[in-house]
């Protein structure tokens, strides 16, 4: 127990981790509480097309006359929850399958691994494009689709690590002593693969932000009139040269969010592997 606390402290004391954490939390906070501070509803038509920034509208107006600042404040929720949800679902489903494969071995293992091979042969974005145009662009469909694209990677990772752990002496010993498998799973195996999986979660978060905003950019993501950072880039790209704030506002926030999650994940990964190095 104390080992966990001390490694948590070590992780948090790393500068990169703290910076990443602050950045991520700041963007998440902005996205969650932003809507409360928006001066206008995101769909209100209050200005002229691509109107320049004024005192009342610090970021100016967009392609049809919405207040960009209000939309930036309102447009983060979907980005944040969708990327978090798709990364979390991919992690949960992928880990379950990966552990199942590692435990079951033989047939089940072969089948699972082989199917991840099939899915991995589709480049992510193409898989997502196909599924979204097949099933529609409801938020939860997009989330699940992105999760499906990421899950095979998690299966591979968790299976690989679990295989390593399963073969270790303490697991064999526990098995010989007749402990139930569930106990072995939750007490011995999950804790030791938790850190790498959490790091991978952070990295998937970065990918999810990129993929979701890329989808919106291609016109397959969140549909108007919703406010969404990725969608805003797409909508206002034609006005990039007259009213750049309408594009750069959301671009900046997406970049900061991706950067924050990336720094966080990498920082944790680096610190923990350093800890393990020292231990071994």
């Amino acid at each position: 127990m104390s080992a966990h606390v001390s490694s948590l402290r070590a992780v948090l004391s790393a500068r990169q981790v703290r910076f990443g954490l602050v950045l991520t939390l700041a963007v998440v906070g902005f996205a969650l509480f932003g809507p409360l501070f928006a001066p206008h509803a995101p769909t209100d038509l209050v200005g002229i097309t691509y109107g320049r920034p004024t005192a009342g509208a610090p970021l100016g107006y967009d392609y049809i006359g919405h207040d960009v600042w209000s939309r930036v404040l309102a447009g983060g929720v979907s980005v944040v929850w969708m990327s978090l949800a798709s990364a979390a679902i991919a992690l949960a489903a992928g880990t379950a399958l990966g552990l199942l494969a590692a435990f079951a071995r033989r047939r089940v293992d072969q089948a699972i691994v082989w199917f991840t091979d099939v899915f991995m042969a589709f480049p992510d974005l193409i898989l997502v494009l196909l599924i979204v145009s097949m099933l529609g662009r409801d938020h939860w469909i997009i989330v699940l689709t992105v999760a499906v694209a990421f899950a095979p990677g998690v299966v591979r990772l968790s299976r690989g690590i679990a295989l390593g752990v399963v073969n270790q002496e303490f697991v064999e010993a526990a098995e010989m002593m007749g402990y139930p498998r569930s106990r072995i799973l939750f007490r011995e195996i999950l804790p030791s693969i938790l850190t790498p999986l959490l790091v991978h979660l952070g990295i998937m978060l970065t990918w999810a932000v990129g993929m979701l905003s890329g989808l919106a950019f291609l016109g397959y993501g969140v549909a108007p009139p919703a406010a969404d950072w990725g969608l805003m880039i797409n909508e206002n790209r034609a006005g990039l040269l007259i009213q750049p704030a309408a594009v750069f506002g959301p671009v900046l926030l997406i970049a900061l969010f991706a950067l924050g999650t990336n720094l966080l994940a990498e920082g944790v990964g680096r610190v923990t592997s350093r800890i393990e190095e020292r231990r071994s």
């Binding site: 589709f122 480049p123 974005l125 196909l130 591979r156 993929m211 905003s213």
Partner: protein, 373 residues
């Protein structure tokens, strides 16, 4: 573009079946061959399943190709006629068998939209995409290699840290955002020295029109090189810390010779998987860059084909891409096995070689997992 699928692409346990069958022959052939044959068979199985999925998925796309092609002005009976001519009214299984037979005889059908043979249409676009991919590789690989080795040798120096923290930016920021910024800087707003749209002349090969390749190449190379750079740096650091390098130092081997004869070759093995991943990412993930630069590559074509429900074209493109990915995986695995002495001579290759898993983790985080086995 910014997302890189983790794929350890390691020898599959499915190889145990054929492996057993080939046991008798083991004495006379290279130790890795049975493994490779198993991998090959499993790859063919993957392609077969993919062909089902591709066909099924495209057929399941909502809306009706005949209606979309003819537009809203066409009367219903005209749409029915076209549907019949395209064979879209026949049972799905029959359509699949016909399609599969055609594909096996090298015929991918005709585009519903433009009435041009799919093979002909794709050849030009794939050539363009391949040119772009190779251009990215030509820029990103040497850059990542040289910088990665340099940074590993000067680990934790000011230069190393500066480069590391600046590449995090390119790694995290979505690639299409980088593309938009480059267009603004180099073609429209600040300077106007490079074309904003890559309007390749179809009568010339893409490599003879380098002015159109610069910006898309730069966009993709920036995204890709950062991953590779960190991979090379990490595996080089690992190699320099390894026992054989220490041993060589103790024996008094000159440092230069240690680096170039021992450390670098070993550090490059994980990089092979990295290169394969890069190709895979570029194969499919260049869609966004191609849209931004109006580059007539395969991603743009696929995007339009999905929009138009041009089924033969979608099927052809996705099939070729996925088969390409399977082949690349296979090649990368084979090269890795051949270059790794321990794996090359092993009588039975472990289900998941730790070397490959290590490469995957290095690729993602720049740090290897120390999973003691």
């Amino acid at each position: 573009m910014s997302s890189v699928p983790l794929h350890a692409g390691a020898p599959s346990p499915a190889s145990t079946g054929p492996l057993a069958a080939l046991k008798a022959l083991r004495g006379r052939m290279p130790a890795w061959l049975p493994w490779f044959v198993g991998r090959l068979l499993s790859g063919i199985g993957v392609v077969l399943v993919i062909s089902f999925i591709v066909f099924g998925a495209t057929q399941a796309l909502p809306s009706d190709p005949a209606r979309i092609i003819l537009g809203p002005e066409a009367p219903e009976h005209t749409v029915d006629t076209l549907r019949r001519q395209l064979g879209l009214d026949r049972p799905l299984a029959l359509q699949y068998v016909d399609w599969a037979q055609q594909v096996l005889s090298g015929n991918l059908g005709r585009s519903i939209d433009s009435n041009v043979p799919v093979g002909e249409l794709m050849a030009g676009r794939f050539a363009n995409s391949l040119t772009l991919t190779l251009a990215v590789a030509a820029v990103a690989f040497p850059l990542a290699l040289v910088l990665g080795i340099f940074m590993a040798l000067r680990r934790d120096s000011l230069a190393d840290r500066a480069v590391l923290s600046s590449v995090v930016l390119f790694k995290a920021v979505p690639g299409f955002v980088i593309g938009i910024c480059l267009v603004m800087i180099f073609s429209t707003s600040v300077f106007s020295i490079l074309p904003a749209a890559s309007l390749l002349d179809p009568s010339l090969p893409a490599w003879r029109q380098p002015q159109y390749l610069v910006l898309p190449t730069a966009t993709l190379a920036l995204s890709v090189a950062t991953y590779l750079l960190r991979l090379v740096r990490a595996s080089m650091i690992e190699a320099m810390d390894s026992e054989y390098v220490t041993a060589a130092r103790l024996r008094g081997v000159p440092e230069r010779r240690i680096i170039w004869r021992h450390a670098v070759p070993n550090a490059l093995i994980p990089a092979i998987q990295g290169v394969a991943m890069t190709f895979r990412v570029l194969f499919g993930g260049a869609v966004l860059a191609e849209v931004i630069f109006s580059y007539p590559g395969i991603g743009n074509t696929l995007n339009a084909a999905i929009e138009m429900r041009d089924l033969p074209l979608i099927q052809g493109i996705v099939l070729v891409i996925t088969v390409g990915v399977v082949v690349i995986n296979l090649a990368a695995d084979l090269i890795t096995v051949l270059l790794t002495p321990r794996l090359r001579t092993a009588t039975r290759i472990r289900a998941r070689s730790p070397g490959l898993r290590n490469a995957a983790s290095l690729w993602r985080t720049g740090k290897s997992w120390r999973v003691s086995v």
